[in-house]
Amino acid sequence: MLDEMMAIEANGTWELVDPPRRSRPIGLKWVFKAKKDAAGLISKYKARLVAKGYVQRADVDFNQVFAPVSHLESVRLLLVHAANEGWSVHHMDVKSAFLNGELQEEVFVEQPPGFVLRGHERKVLRLMKALYGLRQAPCAWYAKLDSSLLGLGFKRSSSEHAVYLRGEGAHRLVVGVYIDDLVITGGNINDIDSFKLQMKGTFQMSDLGLQHYYLGLEVSQTPQGITLRQSAYAAKILQNTGLTGCNPTLIPMEPRLKLSKKSAAPAVDQTA
């Protein structure tokens, strides 16, 4: 909890002000999570301060909420292109991405529970940067990332607004954005590394190295090419449905099966 407060304070997220006359400040609350590792053991406890964004009204408290994300098709297109060219694909993620978003609107929030300044109990906080839970947080973050990437000499693809391009020929660098996940690929490893350094200078980033897990896709990269799988996800589906040991088949549907609303088969017992 203290870590989160320090991160927020260090970020210049808000300033203490007298309550505004006309608007009601938005409440804040803490959300606690136990993070588990791949083996299912608790690895760390995390606290996140969130705004109760559900009280915000369109056009009054916010205007734009749209933030583009890359389609899975374009992610695959990038991967196919990388495989064709023999490029390696790297992965980075932005820590606490939404806290970087700069707010266009005036937003007031109450002081966070447990951290009310003594002697200033009636004051509220005016937000400069976004908080998780605010309706405009994703949009504010995307705007920030967009301007940073454009500032680094990238061009945004006109047919997919979450794909950014820089350089020519052997120095081509392609970046796909999914909220706070960046897929980076290019012909020259030095270009990728220098881009990573530039990003680390702009945001708090974690460098996940060669991409091996992205949006549920298990990615494996070899000199021969790239393979995508979802084995862990598929195994989990079978586990959830209790069909782990079932008799496998190689055809997903009974041949020539036709289903109709006029079916005379008995209804499923939904409580079973």
Binding site: E73, S74, R76, L77, L78, L79, V80, H81, A83, N84, E85, G86, S157, S158, S159, E160, V163, L165, E168, G169, R172, V174, E218, Q224, G225, I226, T227, L228, R229, Q230, S231, A234, A235, I237, L238, T241, L243, T244, C246, N247, P248, T249, L250, I251, P252, M253, E254, L257, K258, L259, S260, K261, K262, S263, A265, P266, A267, V268
Partner: protein
Amino acid sequence: MFMEEPTTEHLAAVKRILRYVAGTLDYGCRYTRKKMKEAVLSGYSDSDLAGDLDTRKSSTGVIFFLGDNVITWQSQKQKVVALSSCEAEYIAGTTAACQGVWLARLLGEVKGKQEGASTIYIDNQWAIALSKNPVFHDRSKHIDVRFHFIQECVEEGRVHVA
């Protein structure tokens, strides 16, 4: 559409899908490198006439490859009732054209080159002929304007059909 009042038939079909998942746990997409030639974008469209017994609507199937590597695929029920298999194929071809135009444009941008065209392989001679040659006759004059998008794409060279 069978989400309300599912019957044991539907449950059996779902279980069958899960058994398929169990049999294909390690399956995935493999993207391999072909050094010699530049990969071309090609799409395939197919349709199933009146596959839905209740509404008699057809289904569209589309898949796109870059070289040997698959990029995207879709299967969906068509929004209108097709009167013939040719018509169902033509509607499926249009869906493919929409996807192909977008993919070609994005690929062009990623490569930093002029956008290329994609080739769409339609499973029906009449549909191929109609998309190349906008003649109207009794059997095609009722087809909705939106499905003639593919004719425009072919005329402008953004899509080739075969």
